[in-house]
Symmetry: C2
Subunit: 233 residues, 2 copies
């Protein structure tokens, strides 16, 4: 056996409201070690940042209209369902606008800058617990060609978005053709496995990631792919 990764759901957080310090609350719920990665779902990050807006529950077009107002571009439309590109450069359903786990008549928007949100939570944990952790803000996105949703990183701090393996050698001593792994997305997905969508566990702790991945980072700069280099788009 080689090194293990341990992924644990963090239970016991209160219902998050605007102004809450998620980093402080997480540090109260669970003992943290240097090098841990704390994965926080977008929903509570947005709530802590007051990114909750009223939405007419009797207007079937309200969610689509709100999604479009949060988008720079609508890529696909099927009835009231839209796939958009957000201001952050994310391509997802409804610009990430979400009505689950929020009071009726309200919708939750994505954080304005989820990398900044991640840095803020990281800094809160540094102050509250005296340890340096990585933070990933995760959200649940669909993807083309494959059914089902997976959690991906929409913001990160202190943990790499992309790990570049260029120059490393494969097991036969030749330079690797596969060069860039999006560890932030893999960490977000791993965390989702212990959260469950309905279990009300919005934070997970990932312990044991490669220490070389612990560095300044940004989803927007590292993971969002510029249009002109996107062969798969």
């Amino acid at each position: 056996m080689s090194g293990s990764l341990v992924v644990t759901g963090v239970a016991g957080l209160p219902e998050i409201v605007a102004g809450d310090s998620i980093g402080v609350l997480v540090a109260r719920c669970v003992p943290l070690c240097a090098g841990d990665v704390v994965v926080v779902t977008q929903k509570i990050v947005s709530k802590s940042e007051g990114r909750v807006v009223p939405l007419d529950p009797d207007d079937p077009t309200a969610k689509r209209k709100l999604a479009e107002s949060e988008a720079v571009r609508v890529l696909r439309r099927r009835g009231e369902l839209v796939v958009t590109e957000t201001r952050h450069g994310f391509v997802c359903a409804s610009s990430g606008v979400d009505l689950s786990n929020v009071a009726d008549g309200y919708a939750v928007l994505l954080p304005v800058d989820a990398d900044r949100s991640a840095r803020r939570i990281r800094d809160q944990i540094r102050h509250a617990a005296g340890v340096e952790v990585g933070v990933v803000v995760s959200d649940t996105f669909g993807r083309p060609w494959r059914r089902g949703l997976t959690d991906v990183a929409i913001g990160c701090a202190g943990i790499a978005g992309i790990v570049d393996l260029r120059g490393q050698l494969d097991a036969l001593g030749r330079e690797l053709a596969i060069t860039e792994v999006c560890v932030a997305d893999e960490i977000a997905g791993a965390a989702d496995l212990v959260m469950g969508k309905s279990s009300g566990i919005p934070v997970a702790l990932v312990r044991g990631v490669d220490s070389a991945w612990l560095r300044e980072s940004s989803v927007r700069d590292e993971v969002v792919r510029p249009h002109d280099e996107d062969l798969l788009r």
Copy 2:
């Protein structure tokens, strides 16, 4: 803290050759428990199944031509790089044809049926170790809109491809809008975090997945998305 997931790289496997029983070899390397999920990278599955073909190392077009011969459709082309749809319905670079970690002058193809590969490994482990495990066969794919590669499931057995949360309630007691989570892909990505591309660890053990996810399954039937329902394509 709630339940933990533990992801461990399985070291000590020999170099895999055609005819090897991967399930038997894994069972020799690591103590397995009922409900564990064994994630096996496509590369060694293909090698064990003899899916290795000669490739002229001096012909710069050889890999592209082989990729096209493995495809039902070429979606994108940039120079010698192609994005294809394989016979299995996967959309990926080069039909999954891979030259890393294989002797010079050879290429590795995808398994003919990676669900069947997963079932075979599951059955080998059942016989060798007397435990019922889930098996995911993983490969490394790119995706549109986001940089970097992540590991996804190309075959599974005994562990759900997609978990359908329809009918479950969110933390506020309302029916969830997010209904289908591709846990097989999230498990494959989690496993990749302990494998590393160059460390020569082609198998990982994921312990602690929700026991409700342990059931007969198929990536081809559950995860590959039919064209007509693909709003993101």
